[in-house]
């Protein structure tokens, strides 16, 4: 070996090592002596003595045994390159690897991670719907209306849609929505309108806003079809579904995001699993809104089946199979539900044929 003066020999090797005292960065070539403690000396002068039971392994480069000691300064290090000496020391220090987590540490990490994952999933599946249900009634109406205004502005920008209000059409629309609103038991705070967009859709925003897109009107063949859709959206308002959905959605995204952390590209995964969870919740809300719509239509003495037919016309046949990722129930099932409980019309039509014509052309410029 390259050590200059091998004075004190240990049982094996010449006892040469490198010592850093953890107080300065001075590199000391030292000799080791294994008595009842590990004695470190430089040129015959004792520098330190470490108890074998306090010695711990520190990270070192390949081929070097690097040691630390619990009772020495935290960063004091001893570096042994001599293999025989290293092996000798390893056999003397029983607690050397107490700091390295080892297999048991990894098992603990895996176990607790799985426990955390299970509890997060449980909260997402069972806790959040409950929380959303309980929390929704506590959210002040004013706050919800504020949210609605925000969503309103965004929707109008996104679809580049204007509110259609040619006079005759607006009059017919108000008549229709008022009849439904009263049958639904909602007060006058409900705002509604027709938006000029070719997307065949209708939606409810938090805080009592219901919008019908012109595209859906174009596909409708009679007032009952549209009335059912509006009743469905009012059902969402009545149940405050968008508020509940917001709480549920926000909570789910947050918790699932916690889970997957930084696995690169996991955002797709987060999105995917969130969709699965929240859409099952949303399907339930949709079914409830459908039930509500059927109820309202019957109270008005009008059939619910036309709405189901309109839905099917818009979406087309959706086929069988479990649609666990769709937010709405299958149109076929919705039609079936609506026809099953169908009664023939007992009340007067909701709109006269002139009014219906006016409503259909609500988005055309004033004639």
């Amino acid at each position: 070996m390259d050590s200059a003066t091998p004075e004190t020999l240990t049982s094996q090797g010449n006892g040469s090592a490198v010592y850093f005292d953890g107080v300065s960065s001075r590199r000391r070539s030292v000799t080791l002596r294994c008595s009842d403690r590990l004695e470190v000396s430089e040129d015959g002068q004792a520098l330190a003595a470490w108890d074998y039971s306090d010695i711990r392994r520190a990270d070192g480069p390949a081929g070097v045994l690097r040691l630390a000691c619990l009772t020495a300064p935290a960063l004091a290090r001893l570096e042994i390159r001599d293999e025989a000496l290293a092996a000798d020391l390893v056999s003397r220090c029983a607690n050397m690897d107490d700091n390295t987590p080892g297999r048991r540490g990894v098992v603990a990490i895996v176990g607790w991670s799985l426990a955390a994952a299970v509890s997060i999933v449980a909260v997402v599946l069972f806790g959040l719907p409950l929380i959303a249900d309980r929390l929704t009634p506590l959210v002040p109406e004013a706050f919800e209306r504020r949210l609605g205004d925000v969503a309103d502005a965004q929707v109008k920008t996104m679809f580049d849609a204007k509110v259609c209000e040619n006079e005759a059409g607006q009059k017919a629309f108000v008549k229709l929505i008022t009849a439904i609103r009263e049958a639904a038991g909602l007060d006058t705070s409900v705002q509604s309108g027709v938006l000029s967009s070719s997307v065949p859709n209708a939606f409810a925003l938090p805080g009592g806003k219901v919008y019908l897109f012109n595209g859906l009107l174009a596909k409708a063949e009679n007032p009952d079809e549209i009335a059912g859709v509006l009743a469905h959206e009012l059902g969402h308002l009545k149940h405050r579904d968008s508020m509940r959905g917001l709480i549920h959605n926000g909570g789910t995204s947050f918790l699932i995001g916690l889970l997957f952390g930084d696995i690169t590209g996991s955002s797709a995964l987060i999105f995917g699993s969130r969709t699965l969870v929240t859409s099952s919740h949303s399907r339930e809300a949709e079914t409830n809104a459908d039930r509500f719509a059927i109820d309202v239509m019957h109270r008005l003495g009008r059939p619910a089946k036309p709405t189901g037919e309109l839905l099917l016309r818009v979406t087309g046949k959706e086929g069988k199979g479990l649609s666990i990722i769709s937010t709405h129930p299958l149109s076929e099932d919705r039609l079936a539900q609506m026809s099953r409980q169908d009664r023939s019309a007992s009340g007067p039509p909701l709109l006269t044929s002139e009014e219906w014509k006016a409503l259909k052309s609500i988005c055309s410029d004033k004639i």
Partner: protein, 385 residues
């Protein structure tokens, strides 16, 4: 793959009286690192990502412990548990911040649709703070010759500076990048210490600009001709590394790098190659899974695919999800091996350190910093080693 193992592993010679520039060496085996990240990816899979704190720690421990400067290896003394705690504390702080962000955004949107988007700027500032504090954590866990590095300075002042420079970057379309980096590095290095040696940064923005201005001109072309993008990025990274390393000083210790422009380009192409290969494997797997699921349903093959039914089949979704997870983890292994380990080795191979005698007898100083910054960095997804 070539097994990098320069210089030959011999015990360091006793220092001569006037030491020449000391090359920096890396003693780790590529195989060991590969095993480390492979096992880590497996555990990340099993723990749904929670293992990341320990994996990151193990990666750093491997890289630090095998990096020899002046014959002595560095050591990383951070632990996974610290990162976990940092993450949890950051979470506790970030949650109310997110809620506040949501409420303020709501008010802003109330006035004007999409007015809340500029609030993202707030998170940029926060991210810069996280970067500074995370660096501080890493530096205080870095030990060499029994003495730790440490760092002072304020994360918020740094974040403010970085954000103002960020604004200038937008205004000048990135042209001020060299001066931005120089200014920020000066701040970071001025507040970095090794024992009682104070750090400083001597790199000048102008030098960086002189070496890299042509890359700035080529970048718009790369947006249209994507195959040249890895060349540009690789050259940019090499120039940046060389400029950055050559500016680092600790007292009288000077670092110098001779990294050439083309030295890193190969690594990026290897990663791209692997991504293509893994992507192909993943698509074949998806195809096989679809065929398997289709053969188990009653409906005929063509009908199954035509009716869009396969988009909704649960077994197929589960198979696709698991496959995707494995694909993402395999990509992580590739990226870690090439862009962490190999890049590290290649960059280290270009480095010379002179004036090491100034670090021969440095008094230990400085305290440990907590891992809060690392937690923020994890929570906000801002980069870091």
């Amino acid at each position: 793959m070539n097994q990098m193992s320069w210089p030959p592993q011999v015990p360091p010679q006793p220092l001569p009286s006037v030491p020449p520039p000391m090359p920096v060496a890396f003693s780790g085996k590529r195989r060991d690192f590969f095993d480390l990240v492979k096992r880590g990816a497996g555990l990340e899979f099993v723990t749904l990502g929670f293992y990341r704190f320990w994996l990151l720690t193990d990666i750093r421990r491997h890289l630090w412990a095998n990096t020899l400067v002046g014959g002595d290896a560095a050591e990383y003394t951070g632990r996974g548990k610290e990162l976990l705690i940092g993450f949890l504390v950051a979470l506790a702080i970030l949650m109310p911040v997110y809620v506040g962000y949501f409420l303020i955004g709501l008010e802003a949107e109330h006035i004007q649709a999409f007015a809340s988007i500029p609030l993202v700027a707030f998170f940029y500032v926060f991210g810069q703070f996280a970067i500074y504090r995370a660096r501080r954590y890493r530096l205080t866990r870095t030990v060499w010759r029994g003495v730790r590095f440490w760092m002072t300075g304020s994360g918020w002042i740094y974040a403010l500076q970085a954000s103002l420079w960020g604004l200038l970057m937008i205004l000048t379309l990135g042209l001020v990048l060299p001066w931005r980096n120089a200014a920020l590095e000066r701040y970071k290095m001025r507040h970095s210490h090794y024992g009682d040696l104070q750090g400083s940064f001597e790199g000048r923005g102008w030098d960086f600009f002189k070496q890299g201005w042509w890359l700035w001109l080529l970048t718009p072309i790369a947006l249209y001709v994507t195959p040249i993008a890895p060349f540009i990025y690789g050259a940019y990274k090499a120039i940046e590394w060389r400029w950055w390393l050559s500016g680092i000083r600790f007292g009288g210790v000077r670092v110098e790098s001779k990294l050439r422009k083309g030295d890193l380009i190969g690594l990026y192409w290897k990663v791209i190659g692997w991504i293509v290969v893994l992507g192909l494997v993943f698509s074949v797997y998806l195809g096989l899974a679809a065929v398997l699921v289709a053969s188990m349903t009653e409906s005929s093959f063509t009908e199954f695919f035509k009716s869009q039914e396969f988009m909704k089949s649960i077994p197929l979704l589960v198979l696709a999800g698991v496959g995707y997870l494995v694909f993402a983890l395999a990509m992580n292994v590739v990226i870690r091996v090439y862009l962490l380990r190999d890049l590290w080795v290649r960059v280290l191979g270009s480095v010379n350190v002179s004036g090491l005698e100034a670090a021969a007898n440095v008094a230990a100083r400085g305290d440990l910093a907590n891992a809060l910054g690392e937690g923020f960095a994890d929570g906000l997804d801002v980069g870091g080693f």
